[in-house]
Every structure is written in C-alpha cells, then in structure tokens.
C-alpha cells in the first residue's frame, strides 16, 4: 500500500524533473524534451494502473499552477491550448503502454519499445491531433500534418524508453512493477 503510493508520487515527480532536463536538439533544430519519455516510463515501469495514476497526479499539480510542463508551462490554461489534446492524452498513453507491457512476454526492452509505440505514439497522437483540430479550427487530416512534425522526436523517445526500461530492469529487477515479479520483493507492498 505505502509502496504503491510512493511509487506513483515519485514517478509524478520524475515526469516533472525530466521536463527540466536540458533539451536535446535534433538535427533539424526541433527541440525534444524528455517529458513524454517520462510519461512512457510511467507505463512501462509502473504498469497500467499505477502508471496512469502517476501521470494524473502530475497533471493535477500542473493544472493547479505549478509550471512543470517543459518550457515552464502550467496552470489551467494547459487544457485550452492547442496542445491540450496531448496533455489530456498523457494518462491514456501511460495506461495503454502499461497494459501492453503487462501482457506481452517479449524481452523487457523490446516490449517497452513496442508499448511506447502503441501508447506514446498511436494513442497519444489520436488525442493530440484531435485537440489541435478543435482549437485551431482545422480538419483532422490538416491537424495530422502538423502533428507529424513531432514524429522524429517521438521515435527517438520510443527507442530511449526501451533502453531505459531495459536498464532499470537490470539494475532493479524487483522494481519493475509492470512485470510479474520473479524475485521476492521486500515483504510489504
């Protein structure tokens, strides 16, 4: 019980802190932040339910006025910006990524990469593109064209999500809550 609560809270904090990491700039000058990587990790490490709750907790604090979205954004306005769809899609992305992770028996790194493609790209883009279409008054296919600008960055993040999850599984096998535990975890949870 305690362990579940603290993992959810610490991963909410992790998403926030990853928004502060100096941005990695791709060749074309498109900056990508590690924040959505944090969202994917919530799913691939904590699993569907805990992962989605961690993301919701992060969102509540952002909406309440903490400037924790990358670029120092925050407040209720995140729900009305053109990018609101991505924000609203975060917990669904984490949930689906976690759901996939919990159900495949593929090796951890590959499973996490696949889970991130489905959760962090397919699901997230459905929300994100719909949001842009509504706020910018465009059709879905027009908005989808805009959304594709982020695809290269997100593909990199999918690869990173796989590598990072793999590294976590090696360093702390008992902490990968998205996978059935093979080692005895500390006795309380």
């Amino acid at each position: 019980m305690e362990r579940s609560l603290t993992h959810i809270a610490l991963f909410a904090a992790l998403i926030a802190v990853l928004g502060l990491v100096p941005q990695i700039t791709l060749g074309a000058g498109v900056p990508i932040t590690a924040q959505t990587l944090g969202v994917m990790l919530c799913g691939t490490v904590l699993g569907a339910r805990r992962g989605a709750l961690a993301v919701l907790l992060f969102m509540a604090l952002v909406a309440a006025g903490l400037p924790l979205l990358s670029g120092g954004r925050g407040g209720i306005g995140v729900f009305t910006q053109p990018s609101a769809g991505y924000f609203i899609g975060f917990p669904f992305a984490a949930f689906v990524a976690g759901w996939v992770m919990e159900r495949t028996t593929l090796p951890v790194g590959i499973a996490a990469g696949a889970a991130s493609v489905i959760g962090g790209i397919a699901v997230l883009y459905i929300f994100g593109i719909s949001g842009m279409a509504i706020v910018l008054g465009k059709t879905l296919s027009e908005a989808a064209m805009l959304g594709m600008a982020f695809l290269p960055g997100d593909v990199i993040k999918v690869v990173l999500a796989g590598l990072v999850t793999q590294a976590i599984a090696q360093a702390r096998p008992g902490s990968l809550l998205s996978r059935p535990q093979t080692l005895p975890v500390s006795a309380f949870n």
Binding site: A13, L57, G74, G77
Partner: protein, 198 residues
C-alpha cells in the same frame, strides 16, 4: 516551490477558487459557441483592459504566459495567408488567445493550495477508491520530492561533467529513474515508520 500565482494582489485573489473554476468552464464553453469575429474582438479588449487595470506588472506577467502560443499563431497566420481567408485566421487566433488567457487569469489569481483543495473536494465522490487523505498525501509527496530529484539530477550532471567532456543528455534518464525508484522505496519505509498510508 515556484508557482504561477501572481504576487500582485488583485480583487480576483479573494474570490473562492471553486467559483473561479466554474466561471472559467462556463466562459470557455460559451467561447466556442461564438461565431462573430467582432464579439471575440470585444471580449479580447475587455480581458486586456481588466488585466491592465491590475497594473503593468500583472499585465506583463499575463502576456509572458501567452508566449507558448506563438508557434501556433505563426502556423495559423501562414495557413490563412496562403488560403486568403484572413478573417477566419483572425477569428481562430483570437479564440485561442482568449481561451488560454482566461484560464491563465484564474491560475494567476489562485493559490496552489486553494486549487489543490478544490481538486481534493472534486475527488470526494471517489473516496471509496481514493481516500481524500491519501490524495493529499500524494500531492505533498510530489511537491516534497521534485526539488529532491532535481537536485540529484544536477549532481548526476556534475558527476558526469567531472569525468566526461560530452554533455550527459539522455544518459541522465536512467540514473534519474533509478533515483526515483529508490526514493519511492525509502519513502514507503518512512511512511510505514510513522503510521502508513491511511
């Protein structure tokens, strides 16, 4: 921690947070029903005047908070210059700006703790699933651990720099995630030492 609440006290600071949020919801829904450009322009002028009435400092803070919108303004501008439907473009820019500025106004005039209390109240119907005290505990834990994790990240970056000429970049993500996992285990034990999660 740093919040987006404006240090400039306004009469809006004294309104209850719940009322402001309800008002904002009604305003935003109404905004998307409007189809006349001039009505939107009038609203935008009124909102700008309201913010200016709170002083220069407040208004410039409000303006800074609109900055993340500029890429979208640019996209809309290019798009509508291309299609020639300039009035439509102006309409969309105004509507987007109004929706965000009104929400920012609520954020700027409401303390974090008041906003979180509203969220805790809104979550009360879920209390069999999510006991209110556990939610409050979760908020407190996140606020406690953000500076802690940020500091660990900064130390990791320094440790990297001390032994490598390359920028750490994404390589920090693994140790940061491990730090979060370890801190979660330690906090669970600390919580248990003083009576557990509920």
């Amino acid at each position: 921690m740093l919040t987006l609440t404006s240090p400039v006290e306004t009469p809006l600071h004294r309104l209850p947070a719940g009322a402001k949020l309800a008002g904002l919801a009604v305003f935003t829904l109404g905004l998307f029903q409007i189809s006349n450009l001039w009505v939107l322009a009038g609203l935008a002028l009124a909102l700008a005047a309201l913010q200016l009435s709170f002083g220069r400092r407040f208004a410039s803070h409000a303006l800074r908070m609109l900055k993340p919108l500029w890429p979208f303004v640019l996209v809309l501008a290019l798009w509508h210059l291309w299609t020639g439907a300039l009035a439509d473009g102006a309409f969309l820019v105004l509507r987007m700006g109004l929706a965000v500025a009104a929400a920012n106004l609520v954020t700027m005039t409401t303390r974090l703790s008041d906003m979180l209390s509203v969220f805790e109240m809104l979550a009360r119907p879920l209390s069999p699933l999510l006991p209110p005290r556990r939610l409050a505990m979760a908020f407190a834990l996140v606020i406690r651990f953000i500076p802690n994790l940020a500091e660990r990240m900064a130390l990791l970056a320094q440790a990297h720099r001390a032994r490598s000429a390359r920028r750490p970049g994404w390589r920090l993500v693994v140790p940061a995630a491990l730090a979060a996992l370890d801190a979660a285990d330690q906090a669970a034990e600390a919580l248990r030492a003083r009576g557990g999660a509920d």
